[in-house]
């Protein structure tokens, strides 16, 4: 599903964010991406959705060479992926309802009779049934984060990528969200979650991909947050 072959990413200014990373994440896997702040986790994720392009090496997602996607094929490619961005990236002038509905609308589902139940149910799942008509800046940090999660889920993507999705959530809500992600993974969605939440990683014992200073330093099938 996700394959990186000797991928490096150097940002303008010569900052090396990823350094010769090769990895393979098969379909239906649940993988954690861990590493200290500034290790290159978000950069890794940006490469997967072509928010950035690798400086060298190749990135395959869904059997497509992401770096060589034609401009017009990018939207269709991205619609098969759901992403929770570290900085949420909610649309400021759209309500919560419209933000969550957006990935479906992009798919061509424009009838609110069809959209409404799906939006409602996914907001219910993340614990936000009451703020449908508010704008993102009228929500608390954790509420915004959950809207971002809801938006990533709503269209049932093949791959779900979450960048630090519990950073603004209290432990209980964080656990509920993680349970939800596990359930979604169990139904067949490939999961990649960049996180600093040691508790969650240590408890779940799933695959752990550990990067540090842009290098892959550990890749364990049933790993913990810190190296054993």
């Amino acid at each position: 599903m996700i394959v990186l072959q000797g991928v490096s990413k150097v940002y303008p200014g010569g900052i090396k964010a990823l350094d010769d990373v090769s990895i393979e994440i098969p379909e239906r896997e649940f993988a954690f991406l861990v590493g200290p702040s500034g290790a290159g986790k978000s950069t890794f994720i940006k490469l997967l959705i072509r928010d950035e392009i690798a400086s060298s090496g190749r990135v395959f997602v869904n059997n497509q060479d992401v770096g060589r996607l034609k401009h017009k094929h990018i939207p269709l490619f991205r619609r098969k992926i759901g992403v929770v961005f570290q900085d949420f990236k909610l649309l400021p002038y759209k309500t919560v309802r419209e933000n969550v509905a957006f990935p479906l609308q992009v798919h061509g589902i424009l009838d609110w009779k069809v959209l409404q139940p799906r939006v409602d149910s996914v907001l219910e799942l993340v614990g936000l049934p009451d703020c449908l008509d508010r704008f993102p800046d009228q929500l608390s940090g954790g509420e915004q984060q959950r809207v971002a999660i809801a938006r990533a889920l709503v269209h049932g993507p093949l791959i779900l990528i979450a960048d630090e999705p519990t950073g603004n959530l209290d432990p209980n809500t964080a656990w509920e969200v993680v349970q939800l992600l596990i359930k979604i993974n169990a139904y067949g969605t490939t999961m990649l979650m960049a996180t600093h939440n040691r508790e969650v990683v240590d408890m779940l014992r799933r695959r752990v991909i550990h990067i540090d200073h842009g290098r892959l330093v550990r890749d364990e099938k049933e790993g913990a947050y810190h190296a054993a």
Partner: protein, 294 residues
Amino acid sequence: MRPRMLLFALQSALAHCRRNKLMSTFSVTTTTVMLLMLGCFIVVITSLNVTLRALESKIDVVAYVKDQADPAQVQNLRDSLSQNADVESVRYVDKDTALARMRQTLGDKAQLLSQIKGNPLPASLEIQLRFASSAPALADQLRQEAAIEEVDYKQDVVGRLLAITSFLRLTGLIIVAGLGAITLFIIINTTRIALFSRRQEIEIMKLVGATDWFVRWPFIFEGTFLGLLGAVATVILIAAGYQPMLTHLSGLLTFLPLAFDPQFLPKLLLSLLAGGALIGGAGSYISVRRFLDT
């Protein structure tokens, strides 16, 4: 599916305008001010053109008839002139009328005429032209006629008048074209600046899988809508100000044949509406493209 998508884009556009009233107001006022300026100049320059045409039409060509000319020939000439498309009217002034006029013109110096034997003044054809520009050709043509002694049409004055009027017409055209280009540029530039603050929104939409067109349409509709709003305000202002302005101007310029085309106003207002909407939409289209490419 397609019309559905456009409807969705329209709804999104209207929702954004409603939610971001301050910014929408700024865009609309810029459009209104620029279109109002353009519209006023178009009104003035169009009126000027009508006035110029009126000025030009006042040009006379006078053909002096030889005393020994054949009256039938002269009559023929009159008839053919009457049928000439360039000619507004022809009038035959016989020798006696000419003398009577001269007497009148001289007023209390008319006793000078009594010292002159006979009537030295020739009969003439006074030809009023539709357009001053046809004067030289007609004069040349008349000079060929056997019955005509001499042709007089104030060559100098007509030349100047034509030079002035065609210069004024050209100037008017340049001003309107220039102001049109400036209006276009300012509205598009304003749209660019306004959309600059929304480049993150555009980026987010693309990251969530929107196609370029899915992103674009709401912006195009928004630009069209705001442009249309600005044009509506302009149209209201011009429609309300047109009559009072005309009356005032006519009062100020009693000696100038200020003429206005009654069918012109609706045409202008419709053009402004279409123009506002078009520029607004096109401006958004162009501006969004810049942020889509990245």
